[in-house]
Subunit: 383 residues, 2 copies
């Protein structure tokens, strides 16, 4: 089996698996219980929190809230910070649905939703974007690494540019695809909030985090026992948090070498695809994460390609798993300026530190075979 | 170690552990992915959903939404159903914080929150309660098994009484402490929604469910990829769902024999406590779950008792873990008519199918020793 859909979800790392299986057996108490079993778990959760804040380069009074998903983290922030009628939010429609779908609810509250304009290469249209930042804009959402284009934003630089123009704006970053893979730091205190995800870096599904810069005020989405500093009530899923923490530790420790490795893999894949399939086009080439490679393969619809690849036990995708339910035009493709007639030809492969050169060559060869077979079949049928 | 705090959280069942550890390794794909790895997971999640609906005695078009916690399930329902200014909600303040804390948010929306009146034994004050159900009441929240008093509500009977008076009302049930332990069925279609929890029945923390009767309309709390029938976006944590499903299967299959066993254990505990500690008082005796035993031990504050018990590796509680952060008067104790001067003497032990008679005797003997020692020490100091 050849799995090249790591951006959708990654297998659990051995260390994270070990932490989870041990913890799930031993750490059965409720971390909110006042006896020492509860207090012990509480203490270890607080240690994980500190670890994550260190990984993020966070400041002294910054906070991190554990949630069950990056979707929950994004929703909690977007719904939780103070926005009133007439305020505006700037967001790219190329972002993940967990960022764009909550905009519906904001619109119902008469909050204006303004599109962050992108260039054809998936990077922000700088001048046009900065011009939008009038004082009514209270929230700007940035995506550290776009799950489709792979485009990396230098969130520090963009943050500074944005705050030069509108110092009071809240900047939220969706870092689900970047955390543990592409370096960034929050140490300059420019970013107000940021979400991270466990299962994208080899931690278990069901864990994620919401970073909050010191002084950020918000209301919770979940009310109850007041866990997570009152911002996310629910029994804390201690084993998932500990395992997420271990996955993050492994990812952070090996980030540089993994990045170097995946960069080579990505280059090899591009080269091989170009060689084997003349029609292949790479629409995103500027500042992209090597972990994600989106390309167009005109001629055969991507759902047919995916089906033929999976028959050969190769698993890739065309868009984010969370966008797979989209009926009709994919708004992410539109925001990324992919021509409508090309939408059905989009393919996305995504890599991990474990992907080998042999893997990408196998993928590339198989894709070329599948493509040629299908083309021949279509030609044959057309005769 | 003697753990008697199962109502706070229960150890994972061996079968559920096996399912989890296997699934966490093998089921790494994203259940929303369109390839067969994703579709396979999707199918198995749907199978679990059907299993849960069967366990609940649900009807043909009823739904179950997987969430990350019972708190999330309660919040999703309370926030998601249509309530407008001037509507009223009836809820007992003896209920879990995940039911009572979201009332704050409803009050801000000018929705009236009316207290469901209880008798001294923790059961509803029937006549007074039913009198409250005027047409402006759109939501009634019932707790199947109260986590403090252990009182079991016959939700079918109460549902019918309520709907006789107010047929249009939505009845939501918090069944976190009862599901898999105390039988109930939703087959008569009277209950509109109900929440269940994984970690209370030996499943992993981080999984729960919200049952919705056919035709219930609501908005989601989490927007994004549209998972869970559009009502709970987030990558589905497949391994947690599968493990929760297995824990529920074990709990349902052994419910009757476990209940019989725990009933005996509870009787033995009451008897022993009465024999060894004359001052013990059991305020809740009518229709209580044998899994929960709350009693008053006047003389020594419960936090001191808990500390001395935990020094002997015995773990009990005084109230729900989610209420442990409450400063000052515990509103649950007040709603249950415990006299304010007795609040500091409340103790709660909770059992599982694995608790033995020897366990409760050890607990009882140790509590008597601890109590006597502390009394002597206090007397000595007072001289």
């Amino acid at each position: 089996m050849l799995y090249l859909d790591y951006a959708a979800s990654a297998p659990i790392r051995p260390g994270a698996l070990e932490v989870l299986t041990t913890s799930i057996k031993e750490d059965f108490a409720n971390p909110s219980s006042v006896h020492k079993l509860g207090k012990g778990l509480h203490k270890r959760i607080e240690d994980c929190r500190v670890t994550f804040l260190e990984f993020l380069g966070a400041g002294k009074n910054d906070r991190l809230i554990f949630t069950a998903s990056a979707t929950e983290a994004n929703n909690t922030l977007i719904e939780g910070i103070h926005l009133k009628t007439g305020d505006a939010v700037v967001v790219s429609f190329a972002d993940h649905p967990s960022v764009t779908a909550p905009m519906e609810r904001l619109r119902k509250r008469d909050i204006q939703v303004i599109e962050l304009p992108l260039k054809k290469d998936g990077t922000p249209e700088e001048e046009a974007f900065l011009k939008l930042l009038n004082p009514s804009v209270k929230l700007v959402i940035l995506t550290h690494v776009n799950n489709q284009s792979g485009v990396i934003l230098d969130i520090g630089r963009w943050g500074r540019e944005i705050k030069k123009i509108n110092p009071g704006v809240h900047i939220h970053v969706d870092a689900a695809q970047g955390f543990g893979k592409i370096p960034f730091s929050l140490k300059d205190g420019i970013i107000d909030s940021l979400c991270i995800s466990s299962h994208k870096i080899g931690g278990p599904k069901g864990a994620a985090g919401l970073y909050l810069h010191a002084g950020v005020k918000m209301l919770p989405l979940l009310y109850g026992g007041g866990q997570e500093d009152g911002l996310r009530s629910s029994t804390q899923a201690a084993p998932l948090i500990f395992s997420f923490c271990e996955a993050a530790r492994e990812a952070m420790e090996t980030m540089e070498s993994s990045l170097e490795h995946v960069f080579k893999i990505n280059q090899r894949a591009r080269q091989c695809l170009k060689e084997k399939l003349e029609v292949v086009d790479f629409p995103f080439t500027q500042h992209t994460s090597p972990y994600i490679l989106t390309f167009l393969l005109p001629g055969i619809s991507s759902d047919i390609i995916l089906r033929h690849l999976e028959q050969r036990d190769i698993f890739i995708s065309s868009t984010s798993a969370c966008s797979s339910r989209v009926k009709g035009a994919n708004p992410v493709f539109t925001a990324l300026h992919l021509p409508p007639k090309m939408h059905k030809f989009v393919l996305r492969v995504s890599f991990s530190h474990e992907t080998t050169e042999a893997d990408v060559l196998t993928f590339c060869d198989t894709l070329a075979i599948v493509y040629d077979e299908l083309r021949m079949y279509i030609k044959y049928k057309a005769r």
